[in-house]
């Protein structure tokens, strides 16, 4: 999985933005979503990303893991990533 052709990613103080330049839509990302996109850009397998973030951020109640799963599903649904 990688960012779709027309999607640009830029980190910001609050997290990051994804800019889909064909539809000219901007998506504002919180820190968890930003961490997910960093993993995508690093080439991580999408199935591994939620667990990796859970471990990295000592996510004891699973909040980050769930957020990451939901975010990946939304990236796919919005066409912001491709295989």
């Amino acid at each position: 999985m990688k960012l779709a052709k027309y999607v640009k990613f830029r980190e910001e103080k609050f997290g990051a933005v994804l800019f889909e330049t064909r539809s000219e839509k901007v998506f504002t990302l919180n820190p968890t979503a930003t961490a997910v996109v960093r993993e995508i850009q690093a080439g991580s397998d999408e199935r591994d990303i939620p667990a990796r973030l859970k471990a990295r951020y000592n996510d004891q109640d699973g909040t980050i893991e769930r957020e990451a799963q939901a975010f990946i599903a939304e990236l796919r649904q919005k066409g912001l990533v491709e295989d």
């Binding site: 027309y6 640009k8 830029r10 910001e12 103080k13 609050f14 933005v17 994804l18 800019f19 330049t21 064909r22 539809s23 000219e24 839509k25 901007v26 998506f27 504002t28 990302l29 919180n30 968890t32 979503a33 957020e67 939901a70 975010f71 939304e74 919005k78």
Partner: protein, 322 residues
């Protein structure tokens, strides 16, 4: 976790470290002399103090270093700039996404192949008329057949196409046909909105301004076409009047810088205010100034004055330095 979505124009600039979009008028020179041109471009109309080549590439380098994701080159006619292809190539090589806004008269097969090879995100062609008669009347020195052939050449080369349309009293009724034509030509987006009273339009307003009676069916048709082409071509239009848009912008400045051919940076096309000079400040410094400039009381005053006298837009080229 729903992702909040907006557009660059609607994205508040305050929290961002750099613009999301730079709209760069690379030259004021143009091969055409269109009745409605908001920049007063035309043959021999290049500014005497346009950025030189070293300055142009220094600005592009700054934009790419700041990771500005999206740029557009317009004019005048951007393709008459001597280093146009080098500039486009630089942006795309640095992973920026570039849109070229052109009148379509330099889109021969060779240039289209080059644009494809460079990897521009899209080329937006102005087709202000669905027929030879209206297009040629509006685009003085222009040729409908040349522009349409240019779009066909883009399609043959595999370059993504956008079409822009400016309404006038004599072409507003063609809007439905124009949208259909854009789709037939292979466009993925169609843009239009209200024609502005500024630039060349100040001198030609009496013979080209659409009336409110014309705007009614114009926008009705666009609403219908939006539905008709849903999922096939995006029909994008600004129904909002200029005053409403500027009032919104006062509180929600777009994450967008307008760069003029001489390196001055405007707050927005529809205001005369300049917030920086790329010969004197870096792009990063100007981005900081941009945030503050929107709060200058003269900006809000200008918008208030516009409510009383809409023809104040005739003064947009008398730049006011903030």
């Amino acid at each position: 976790m729903p992702i909040p979505a907006s557009t660059p124009a609607a994205t508040g600039s305050g929290d961002l470290g750099a613009p999301l979009y730079i709209a760069w008028q690379v030259t004021n020179e143009c091969n055409l002399a269109c009745l409605h041109c908001i920049e007063e471009s035309g043959p021999g109309k290049a500014f005497p103090d346009e950025l030189d080549e070293d300055e142009v590439f220094a600005v592009l380098e700054q934009a790419m270093d700041l990771e500005v994701p999206y740029l557009s080159f317009s004019g005048g006619e951007p393709m008459v700039h001597r280093r146009f292809f080098d500039m486009a190539e630089y942006v795309c090589r640095r992973n920026g996404q570039l849109k070229v806004e052109t009148n379509g008269h330099y889109l021969g097969p060779e240039n289209c192949a080059r644009l494809k090879q460079i990897g521009v995100k899209a080329v937006q062609v102005s087709l202000d008329g669905a027929t030879r008669d209206t297009f040629n009347r509006m685009r003085v020195r222009g040729n409908f057949d040349t522009a349409v052939q240019g779009v066909k050449n883009l399609r043959a080369a595999g370059v993504p196409i956008e079409i822009n349309y400016s309404p006038t009293s004599f072409n507003a009724h063609e809007i439905g046909t124009a949208v259909d034509l854009a789709y037939e030509l292979g466009a993925y987006s169609f843009y239009t909105g209200r024609t502005m009273y500024t630039g060349n339009a100040v001198k030609t307003w009496h013979r080209m301004a659409p009336s409110e009676e014309q705007y009614g069916p114009f926008f009705e048709t666009l609403h219908r076409k939006t539905e008709e082409y849903r999922d096939r071509m995006r029909v994008h239009f600004h129904e909002m009047g200029l005053l409403e848009e500027l009032r919104y912008r006062l509180h929600h400045p777009a994450a967008l810088l307008i760069v003029l051919p001489n390196g001055l940076v405007k707050l927005i096309n529809a205001l005369p205010f300049v917030c920086g000079d790329l010969r004197k400040q870096t792009l990063a410094e100007i981005w900081g100034r941009f945030q503050r400039a929107w709060q200058d009381p003269r900006v809000a005053q200008f918008v208030d004055d516009l409510a009383i006298d809409p023809r104040k837009t005739a003064t947009l080229h008398q730049w006011v330095y903030l």
